[in-house]
Subunit: 143 residues, 2 copies
């Protein structure tokens, strides 16, 4: 917990600004959240079941949504679930996905990211995160 001073500070700030309280559960969930790049409420529920078997799923949802409002997390809907991304992690990995065999290749491309920034700026946006997925056939599946 010692190394997450910055994030804990952001949370405290947000709580103070909104007359909210710092609870044992919120500290526990923040602690676990900061160790992840992204996580679902359900995953966190299972992870924390060991440390606090009585921690409710609703509390986790409420807290992760609170983190979003405090600027620590960002919700992203993927498939049927909601992923909560840790904003302090910046390792963007995009994906090449083969629709034939399901193979996934991760890549990073600074030039693309730069162009994304340009598009965003041109439209008055400030990007916090992005998602890029390329679908196609890998060399083996192309026949």
């Amino acid at each position: 917990m010692a190394k997450s001073e910055k994030e804990m500070g952001m949370l405290r700030d947000h709580l103070a600004k909104h007359q909210l309280k710092l609870t044992r559960q919120r500290e526990l969930i923040l602690d676990a959240f900061l160790k992840q790049e992204h996580i679902t409420a359900e995953e966190m529920y299972h992870q924390l079941a060991k440390k606090d078997p009585h921690l409710g799923l609703a509390t986790i949802y409420r807290t992760l949504n609170l983190f979003c409002e405090a600027g620590l997390a960002q919700a992203r809907h993927f498939g049927t679930q909601t992923q909560y991304d840790n904003i302090s992690h910046k390792g963007h990995h995009d994906h090449l996905i083969c629709t034939g065999c399901g193979k996934i290749v991760e890549f990073e491309n600074c030039e693309i990211e730069k162009l994304q920034e340009e598009v965003a700026t041109r439209n008055g946006f400030t990007i916090t995160t992005h998602r890029l997925e390329l679908y196609g056939l890998c060399s083996r599946c192309r026949h």
Copy 2:
């Protein structure tokens, strides 16, 4: 319906390849879909209620998913709902999404697409489609 020959052709192709049938409902839904840039199943359900009050919501979901498989549409999860984007009528467009107010700005960027092709080629992939979403705050929500 006369102006959507290309899309109707793509649908016929897909149906033929998979032993599926062309039904009145599928024609009706395609017709309505091609007039939109993106739409949810629920929105389409209400739109088509006038033309066919007995058209079921499940049929709309099934048909929009079929369009995705036929390469006419692309599903995108935003908020709690699924948006079905029309990718064959107006060309592919990517999205800038404000996480504050939900505003969506569509854009197209040839340079980004060219770089995507390069990444794909470098990895032996042939891209058939892609999805690019930039999440952030619009000028108004940034305060």
